[in-house]
Subunit: 706 residues, 2 copies
Amino acid sequence: MTLAITPERLASLFRPRSVALVGASNKSSFSRSAYNNLVEFGFADRTFLVNRRGAETHGRPTVTSCTRIGEPVDVAFMMVPQAGTLDALTDAAEAGIRNAVILSSGYGEAGEAGRAAQAELVAHAESLDVVLLGPNHLGFANFVDQVPVTPINGLPHRAGSVALLSQSGASSQAMLSFAGICGADLSSMVTLGNEAMITAGHVLDYLVDDEHTRAIAIFLETIRDPEVFRSAARRAAAAGKPVVVLKAGSSELAARTAAAHTGALVGDDRTIDAVFRDLGVIRVDSIEDMLITAGTAAQLGRLARPGIGVVSISGGACDILADRAEDLGAELPAFAESTEQALAEIMPPYGTIHNPLDVTGAAIIDPTIFTRAIEAVSADPGVGVVAVVNALPWQSDGRPYTGQVFADAIGDGIGRAQSPVVYVNQVLEPITAYTREVMAHARVPHAVPGLRQAVVALRNLAWWSETTRDAATPHEPRALPVPDSSARRGTWSESAARGLLADAGIPVVPAELVTSAQQAVRAAAGFGGPVALKIVSPGILHKSDIGGVRLGLAGDEAVAAAYEEVAAAGAKVPGATIEGVLVSPMRAGGTELLAGVVRDPQWGPVLAVALGGIFVEVLGDSALSPLPVTPARARQLLEGLRGAALLRGARGGEPADLDALADVIARVGDLALALGDDLESLEINPLRVAGNTVEALDAVVTWRNT
Amino acid sequence: MTLAITPERLASLFRPRSVALVGASNKSSFSRSAYNNLVEFGFADRTFLVNRRGAETHGRPTVTSCTRIGEPVDVAFMMVPQAGTLDALTDAAEAGIRNAVILSSGYGEAGEAGRAAQAELVAHAESLDVVLLGPNHLGFANFVDQVPVTPINGLPHRAGSVALLSQSGASSQAMLSFAGICGADLSSMVTLGNEAMITAGHVLDYLVDDEHTRAIAIFLETIRDPEVFRSAARRAAAAGKPVVVLKAGSSELAARTAAAHTGALVGDDRTIDAVFRDLGVIRVDSIEDMLITAGTAAQLGRLARPGIGVVSISGGACDILADRAEDLGAELPAFAESTEQALAEIMPPYGTIHNPLDVTGAAIIDPTIFTRAIEAVSADPGVGVVAVVNALPWQSDGRPYTGQVFADAIGDGIGRAQSPVVYVNQVLEPITAYTREVMAHARVPHAVPGLRQAVVALRNLAWWSETTRDAATPHEPRALPVPDSSARRGTWSESAARGLLADAGIPVVPAELVTSAQQAVRAAAGFGGPVALKIVSPGILHKSDIGGVRLGLAGDEAVAAAYEEVAAAGAKVPGATIEGVLVSPMRAGGTELLAGVVRDPQWGPVLAVALGGIFVEVLGDSALSPLPVTPARARQLLEGLRGAALLRGARGGEPADLDALADVIARVGDLALALGDDLESLEINPLRVAGNTVEALDAVVTWRNT
């Protein structure tokens, strides 16, 4: 694409001074709804209706061409059928309109012909210097400036600080509705459709600089421009704006489905997970969690620490919260002694003082127990956010709300708190105008509906807070020596791979390349103890399969005989250049891992770490991360393996020096980055660790150039 | 307890002809709320107010004693403080009242003194032949007969077919509210409190026979009477009434918390999981899922098959559903060819025909696509329920609902469907009076709010439908030969344990018990190949630790020497009676498991199965089930192990004969049952399987009598 989609350009799209409704028609429900929205939001006087026949439409006069508007217009909102779109674009461009919102379908999502039509559309728009949103979507709405360029019904008028982006038009109305229900008021809503030009990443990038947006929720089926998305997500993290993504396609079934109706690959889901983690992008698994997390994040901002302090009047709610915190990985730290002492002054004698805190029925008699407990818990040195669990009504029964006194007491606690506080409703009830009245009276700024939802939202926010705390200062990989680029071709022999690793400071088991039985015997004697012999040839990847490996050889005779066998096996492989036979000492004990880097078609080099044996073969237990990987991150990857206990010395083994191991693994990643685009894959298998000894026992390097 | 809590007795409590409000007082908000509820539900003329001083209360005359009511009363609804409760009970009993609902706290949940007070309360009630609900709770409401015996505000007037039981009073109002929101209309709501007499199991047992209740939702912190609960749950399963339980205490933190505020053990959570699974009790992890599952189950009843067919107008919703179905274990079967053919007639050419089915925007033009697609999918031979995903409004914007035509088309589809159909709202919006209007117009009987929630509810219902399909005909364990009960004492030696297993038809590796080196050599020669020698003594459980085991012995000399070493090691153990040394052949290859039965203090004998080595030691990978266990269930346990691939022949091993293995494991359970209460534990470790050879290589049996 040649046309630059800059934030300035997107500002003229998303904050237009005026809009031309092109293809306005009384017969079209889309046209009616879109026009109604513009009227309802007070934008009628900045809206121009364009109708090919010039017929009065929606009770207003129309023009037959954009060029007849006679005033500058920022956005052409196209409701014309696919067949008329190219001409309509030409007309708009002639009128000086530089942005178009294209609703019609039948493009990239509609098979081969559709993809061709979309390519033609894009080429035409580029030739006219017009930027496109869509096609096959439902427009956008800017709630801050009150500009609805969408036919979606039931738009909220209240503006907030969450931006909602969706590749699904059909689900966007439901998302809008739920955003209102859960208190995630929106700064803007953008449906993305086929993303012929403007992708999610572009809009995200624009929103990083939008002062009204504090968190961004995105529903994605595919990430069409990984580099744009990655760079925008990095900027968002550095700017302290959480990005919360519901990415479909984690199942094989959905991946196939999404590919069918978006016409794009959804990407390998484990890689997506790893990339999101690397970028500090919060991943959720439901529309509800997406919007509740985004709303909570926009309200609370970065937490100073991950611990959640819970204050509730329901013991049952405390138990549910504790259970879900454990399941879902949220932290409910034990209270500090100072907090316990403070609470002992506040709580009734029969109460139990710990986190989660059940204030007991005594708070019904004396609601200030709530107030004071919140204050005390908010001051706990381990608590980054206080979750106060209580009821919150969504509809009036016609009488004054009997629970107002408790809400007020909680609001008082929020006013005095030293950490952010969220009011958690026990169940997922809507936050209605009536709820907001109760909250306003109590001076409660934000509420989260539902215990499970609150645990998910606060865990997500805590994770984001920690992960992106230093996002503004990215990690630079180490510069490592690399071979001349002319040598980076084909597949390297184990011997050559060993040299590459050793030069990069990655410890490699000692070995000697020999070309005779006599040399082999001498090398073995030099090492002492049993040795392994392996054929060395760039043409032989699976050495064991052809009989090119002999292990545990002790004594001159055994070594000499093995040399002859291995060499003979190598000689039988047609066309393989034999470099010799590698003699190396056998290693016993310790734990074997795999560490490697492969190239993802969307996201570039990805590091994979796994424990060998049944862990990787039976359990598929591995951890991924895009590069660069710091030693600290490499350690997290190791600790996240299901078999991590083995590294910590389970089953009586010697505990591995995790820092030493993590440093080697990070170095593997740095080496792959230093090798750049020439590298196809690099795999160390096994990588052995025993105490603080870390050694590559075998490695394969393949290059993209043959 | 001597007083029998029969369903008849509970009927007089939960369906009372009249209620005495004992301790009625204008000053008590509980009294006011409780009385208001009775008035609002039209029960005022069957309510009698009892006030010690006879003061007019709630605008009505009162009597000073229940004996002055002068009419038969079924329930004394006690609002008196703890100190006056015993006297009030006596008074009520004198008036012939046989049931009491005790709200006050300060009993079992309040430390040592509280537990003593509760014991006194129970003893007193028993002496009076009065049955107690509570104490420390919020009463109950019977919505079918419109009898509210509770101070909870905001009770729904609409009656439904879900019964809600809760040990948490403080959370019950939130649960009630959410039940209304999600369309799980209630037949009754019972708060259980301390369950001094009536436990959840008793109420469940009563509800099995309640014709108005089709599903039961229960929030539990503890199961106080496991046998009553188990028997009631069995009856519910046989009667086809799903029981949905949110059981707190899965985390260590919650277990401790719950123990603190209920004064009862919460039980080992993995055992609870296994027991629920065995009983067909659906376990959920949030209030929302509890009520949505129960509401859906009450509406749909048992599904003929587990497959879910999805019809939606949103491709995004299809993807989210497919992802969550995979994560959460719901089945979205591929459509049969006949279904695909039928859909090809209905769908637009650019649509993709598979499950989940995106009907595409074509359904906006022609809503009958919805109708016809539902009909076609409902006839699919793999589909047990159809989930139709669409919007469903919760509040009117003052204009006629623009989506009514689609709801109507879906309702038409439901009318023509051959399987049950649920209408799934894309997000968790409340089902309000307005929503019900839209549904009524469309003749849609039931809706589920939210995609994730729908997947959870339908998966739960599908699981329940399969698990309890044959619940009315329980499995009888095999009768197996057992040793004389006088011999069932202490810990048995390996040799004795081998005999027990062999007599029960459990294959055991051949072995010979010898008492001299010479005999050992002869025995080894008889087996051929290498052998193992193990000391045999009931006093030596950990044979390896004392040097009492030697493995892989080949040759007469090695065997003889090993005999002397093993015997000498045994002789050094003080007080151990040495029966001899066991000689058995070494086994190579195959997979080693553990199979054993232990006694849970709450639930009795529980079978545990695990793979040996890192699976159990590093991953804690094991499966539990209460007894009896059928061979089919044993096979499920094996297949549920994380390392199950190993049994199927991963890593080049021989696939295990899972049926043979499952039969042996089921037999272990049957043997434990045959041994009855004398058995403390029985463990086979290892149990080796290689192809269709299954053999116990070692076993330990301990008895409860010393």
